[in-house]
Point group: D3
Chain length 264, copies 6
C-alpha cells in the first residue's frame, strides 16, 4: 500500500509520514468545467492531481484528495460560468474548504502544506483560506508554513518556445488550448478526442467583465484558443518543466531533503 496519494494509504503508513521532519502535503485544486468538445469536464482536477503526483515523487511529499470543484469560471480565463457543464463553488464555500482542510493537516502534524492550483479563478479564494488557516495555526506552532502556486506559472521561456513555436499568446486564452490538451494527451490520452478540436482563432477578450455574461463574447467551442497544435510530446515538455521547477521552488522555500532535481 505505498502511494504518494494519501487516499490510498492506510492510517499507520500515513501516520509515519506525517511524523517525519519537514513532512509536506500537496493539495491539488481543480474545477468541474466544460473544456470544449474534445476534452472532458474534469480536466483541471485531473491535471493538478497528476502534476502534484509527480512533484510529490520528486520531493517526498504526499498528495491530498483533489478539490474537484472550483470557483466560478470567468469568460476571460475559462469561458464563463454560464456554460452547461461548468459547476462551481462560490467564494465562501471554497475559502472555507481550504481553511478547514489546511487547518486539519497542520494540526495532524504536517510541517508544510502546498496548494497546487489547476484552475485560474481559484487562486485568490485559496489565498484567503490559506492565509487564515496558517495565521491561526502559527499562534501555537510557529513552524507551520505553506506555499500556494498555479502550475502554469512554472513553465519557463525555453519550454514556451518549444510548445508554442508560432508564439505564445498568454495563459489567459489557454483554456481548452494547447497547454491543457497536450498534458491530457500525455496523461489521459483516452479522454481526448483530437478529431473534435475546433480550430478557431484565439478569443478576443475584453479587458473587463460584464454581468450578466454575454455568451456571444467567447467562442462557441467553449475553448479560448485552438488545441490543434497539442501533442503528447509537448505535454511531456510541459510536465517536465513544471514539475522540475515546482520541486525546485519547494526545495528552496521549505528545505525539503528528498528533492533530486532532474532538468529534462
Amino acid at each position: 500500500m505505498t502511494s504518494v496519494f494519501l487516499e490510498d494509504l492506510d492510517a499507520e503508513t500515513y501516520s509515519a509520514i506525517v511524523a517525519e521532519e519537514g513532512s509536506t502535503v500537496i493539495i491539488p485544486t481543480g474545477a468541474t468545467e466544460q473544456h470544449g468538445p474534445h476534452m472532458p469536464l474534469g480536466v483541471d482536477a485531473m491535471l493538478s492531481k497528476a502534476i502534484a503526483g509527480v512533484v510529490a515523487e520528486k520531493t517526498g511529499a504526499v498528495v491530498a484528495p483533489v478539490f474537484a470543484y472550483g470557483y466560478k469560471s470567468q469568460p476571460r480565463s475559462g469561458g464563463g460560468n454560464h456554460r452547461v457543464g461548468t459547476t462551481s463553488l462560490g467564494a465562501a464555500a471554497l475559502t472555507g474548504m481550504v481553511d478547514d482542510v489546511v487547518s486539519s493537516f497542520l494540526s495532524q502534524g504536517f510541517a508544510h502544506v502546498v496548494i497546487l492550483n489547476g484552475h485560474f479563478e481559484n487562486y485568490q479564494f485559496i489565498y484567503e483560506g490559506l492565509d487564515n488557516a496558517v495565521s491561526r495555526a502559527r499562534v501555537s506552532s510557529t513552524s507551520s508554513r505553506a506555499v500556494l502556486l498555479s502550475y502554469w506559472d512554472f513553465v519557463d521561456e525555453a519550454t514556451l518556445e518549444q510548445v508554442f513555436p508560432n508564439g505564445f499568446l498568454g495563459w489567459d486564452i489557454e483554456h481548452g488550448g494547447v497547454l491543457e490538451t497536450s498534458l491530457m494527451l500525455l496523461l489521459h490520452p483516452e479522454k481526448v478526442d483530437m478529431s473534435r478540436v475546433v480550430d478557431h482563432p484565439p478569443a478576443k477578450l475584453t479587458p473587463y467583465d460584464i454581468f450578466p455574461e454575454d455568451p456571444a463574447r467567447t467562442p462557441a467551442s467553449g475553448c479560448l484558443s485552438s488545441a490543434k497544435g497539442a501533442s503528447a510530446e509537448r505535454g511531456q515538455l510541459l510536465l517536465d518543466a513544471v514539475t522540475t521547477q515546482v520541486a525546485a521552488a519547494l526545495d528552496g522555500e521549505l528545505s525539503l531533503e528528498k528533492i533530486t532535481l532532474e532538468v529534462s
Copy 2:
C-alpha cells in the same frame, strides 16, 4: 467518451444528457478518514463513488465528482476526528459546498439531484445544504426535486443475515468493519490488506459525546468492529442489495424511465 461519470464526459455529450426529460445527477459524498491499518483513507469516497456508478447505470443518471472530504468524524460512528489521517470539513464549508453544487446542477437544467452519502456524519449537513438549494431553486422552477440517502440504509434484512451470519450489531460500529471491507474487497481489492486486520471485539460506545475526545474510548485499531468476516462475495451481496434498492427507490420517487430492476 461515454461514461456515467460526468468528469469524463465532454461538454457536448453532457449538454445533451442534461437536456433530457427527467435528467438526474447523483452526487456521491464521502470523507478522508482513517479506516484502520488494513484499508486506505479514501474508503468512504471510493465506495460512494462506485455505488453511485452502478446506480447511475441502472437508472440512466450521471455521477458528479465525489465530495472527497466530509464532516468531522465522531467516535460513535467513525472513531473520532482526533485520529491522524482524518481530515474533515466544518459544518459551514460542507453545507455551502452542497448548496453551491446542487444549485449549479439545477440551474444547468437537471430535473433531479440525488445525493448518495457514504460517510455517516455528513447526513445532516448535506440535508441543510440540499434543503436550502432546492427551496431557492423552486421559486423559479417548481419541477426541481432532490433525494438524499446513505447507502447502507438500503441493505435489506435478508442480505444482513447472509453478510453477518453471527448477527448484525448495528451500522454505528461498522466503521472499518465487515460492510466497508467487503465492499472494498470487491471494488478495490488491491487497496485492502486483510493480513493487517485487527480482530477485536466490537467497540462499546457510550451513548453520548465528550469534548475534547478521549482517544482511549475507541479501539486503537481505528475500527469499531473486526473486519475479519469480510469477503468479496459478501461485498457483492451488499452491492447488489444496495444498488437494486436505491435504483428502485429513485424510480419510485422520480419516475425515472430507464431503471431495470434486477434483484440479485
Copy 3:
C-alpha cells in the same frame, strides 16, 4: 431564591455556584414543533427542561434557559418541517447559538457544560457548535470539558420492555408517541388530552429524504406512532431510567461529587 434553574437565581447566588470546583451547567435543548392533536407545540423544550432539572438535582448542577427552537424537523424523526406549528432554525443560527452560549458559560468560570438534547434533529448542529466552543476555550483553559447527549439514548432495555410491552419499534417513530406522551402525562398532565390521541399504526418511513417534502408520506396526525399506550406511570419509569443513567454518566465522565445514584 434557591432553584436549579439559573434564570430564577440572583447574581450573587449564581456567582457562588460558578466559583465552585467542578461547577456544571446543563443546557436543555428542544424545539417548537407540532406533536399531534393531543399534545402542545412545546413538548420537546418542556421535556428536556424537566429532565435537566432532575439531573441537576442529582448532580449538583444548574440548568440554563432551554433552547426553545430547534433544527428543521424531518419526516423520518419528527414528521417534517412543512407542518404548521413547526417553527425551526437553520444550521447556522442553531450552531451559532450553541457556540456563543457555551463560550459564555466557560468564560464565566463553569468547569463543565452539558447539553441535554430533546429534539432528534438538533444533535449534529449542537455537536458543531459545542466542538468549536470547547476547542477555542481550551486554548486558554485546558480544564474546560463538555458532554452532549440526547435523553432517550439513556433508556435501558429493562425499562423499554416495561414501557413497550408489545415490543419497542425504534426511537425514530417515537415522535408524539408513547415516550413523549408518557413523560408529558407525568410532568405536564394538564397539557395532554388523551381523548384526542389518533390510534394509527406506526408510520412506515422511507430510508431516504426527498425535497420538497411530500406531506402524504407521514400520518395526518402529525405523530409517527400511536400514543395510546402512554401513561404517567410509564412516564415515571422513563424519567427515572433516564435521569439515573444520565447522572451516572456525568459522574463518571466529569467526576461530579454530589451525585447520589438511586436506581429506581
Copy 4:
C-alpha cells in the same frame, strides 16, 4: 388547551389560529443577564413574555416562545457583558435566529409578526433579522407585515410621573431599577427579594464605551439605579400603560379587529 402561548397549544388549534385573517404572532425577546442581588437572571425574558401575553389577550394574537438569550449586555444600559451571570449571543446568532423564526411564521401563514423586545441591546440586531426576513417574504406575499418595539418606549408621561414621583432619570439607568423591579413584584413577586436591594445613587455613565470593559465604572450591585421605590402597584401602572399603548399601536398599524382598548 386554550392559551395565548403557542407552546401550550396543540397543532390543530394552532392551525386554525394561523388561518384566520390578520393572524398575528408576538415574539417576546429577553436576555439571560444579572439583575443585581434582588432579582433573578431571567428578568428580561420573564417580563417580555408576560407583557406579550397581556397584549396578545387584548389583540387576539398568540405569543411565541420567548428568546431567552440576548445580545451582549453593555455598561451604559445593562451593566456590561463581563459580569458573571450575563450569558449573551453575538450579532450573527441573534440576527439569524430572528430571521429564521420570523421567516417560518410568515411561511406558515401568519399575516403579521410582532417582536416585543425586553432587553435594550437586542434592538438593532432584531431589526436586521426582521428586515431581512420580511424583505424576502414579501417577494412572494406582499401582505406580510411586521412591527418591532421595546416595551418601555410605550410608558406615557403621566405614568412616568406616578412611578417616578421624584423625577425620571432616563431608561438607560433603569437596569435592575424601579421599572423592572416593580413589574417583577407584580408578575413574579416570589422571585424578588426587596431586602437585598442596594440603595445607591444612579450610575454616572460615560457617553462612550471602552474595550475591554472596566468593571469599576458601574455599581458593584449590578444595577444602574436603586430599586428602592419599586412596588407591585407601580408595576400595575406600568403594565397597564405599556400593554394598552402597545395594543393600540398594533391595532392602528395592523388593523387588528379584536382590540378593546381599556385605558387604566
Copy 5:
C-alpha cells in the same frame, strides 16, 4: 507630507507614528444617506472625518480613512432606508469591516483604536466588530485598548442651550436639522444651500418600527426637523464642545500625553 489623515502620510512617516508609545488611530464612521434638499448625501462621513481631524490634532492621534457607508437608515433616526440616495450596508458587512480594520491597526502596532461615529444606526454593529477584534487581539497583546463613541453624545448642556435657544427636542430628530447643518455650514459651507431648507415642524415619530416602512410617516423633506436655525457660529460652538470633550475623554481613558484641553 505631514497630516493627521493617514491616507496622506507616506509609509515611513506612518511607521514612526505607529511605533510611538500610546499611539492612537481614530476611525471616523459615517454613511451615504439623503439629508434633505439643502445638504449632500455625504454629510455623516464629512462630519465624522472633520471632527476626528480636530480631535486628532488635540490628542496626537492620526485619522484613518472614513467609513463612507453605514448601516441601514431607520425612520426614527435618519428618515429610513427606503429613501432614494440612502445606500447602506447590512450588519455582517459593517461588522466585518470594523473587525478587519481594527484588527489590522492593532497588529500593526497601534496601542489604541478609537471609533468616532457620525451615523446613529451604526453604533451597535460597530460595537460588535470592535468587541470581537479587541477580544482576539488581547489574547496576544493585553495592552490593546479601544474606545467607541458617537460625537453628538459629547455636546454639553450649556452648548445645547446656546445652539437650541428655543429648547432642544432630542438627538433622534436632528437628522438633517440644526446640529448637522450648522456643522456643515462651518466645515463645508459650499455644500449647503440654506435657501432650500424646508421649514417644517419636528417629525412625530412612532415609538416602534414597521416593516416594510411607510414613507408617509416621516416628512417629505427627508429631514426630521427644520434646519432653519442653523448657522456657522452654532457649528463652531458644537465643534468646540464636541472636540474638547472627546479629547478629554480619550485623555482620561487612554492617558494620551499630547492632549492640551482648551475649553472654548
Copy 6:
C-alpha cells in the same frame, strides 16, 4: 450643488439622476496600503476616485463614495500585507460590502453599476459580490446590468511605449512605480515627494506565494519598481488613455448616450 460625486449631491438632484433612462453609477475601489516613501497610503483610493470622476464626466454617470479599504495586499502585486501601513479587509467583508452597496444602487433605480477598481488584489472578491448582487437583482428587474474593470487594463500599447520608453515590464511590478506615481504627480502633486523615490531595479518576484510572508523577498522601499521615470506629463498620457478607453467600453456595453469620445 452640481458634481459627478454623489456624496456632494443633494437628495433631490440625485433622485432626478437615478430616474433617468440608462442611469449609471461608478463605484471606485482602492485600498489603504503603503506606497513607498514618496507617496501616501491612500494612492489606490485617490486614483480610482479621480479616474472614475473623469469617466463619469465623459459618460454622464455619477461616482459613488470610494471604497477606501481593499483586500489583503500580496507580495507579487503590492508588496505584501505584512507591511506597516497596509490595512486590509478579508474576503467576506469586501465581498459583502460590494454586494450590499450594489444591491442598494440597483434597488434605488440605477440601470447600470460600474465598479472601477484601483487595487489589483480586489478584483476577484468584487467579482463575487457583484455577481451575487446582479443575479439577485435580475430576479425582479432583468434590465439591471453591471461592469467590472481595473483601470490599468485600458492602457493601450501606444501609450505604454510613450510612458515606458525603455520597455514595459508588466503591471505586477507597477506598485509604487511609474504608472501610479505619474498619475499622482498629475492629480495630487502635493502628495508626492520625488526626492524620496528609491531608485532600485524591478523586484524579482517568485511565481508563487508563501505563508507567512518573508519580508526580505520584496524591496525594502515597499515599491516593486522604481518611480524615477514618473512625470505629470506621463500621468496625463495615462489618464487620457484610460478614461477614453473605459468610456468607450462603457458606451459599447451599456449604450450610454452622453459619451463623447475624445482621444487625446
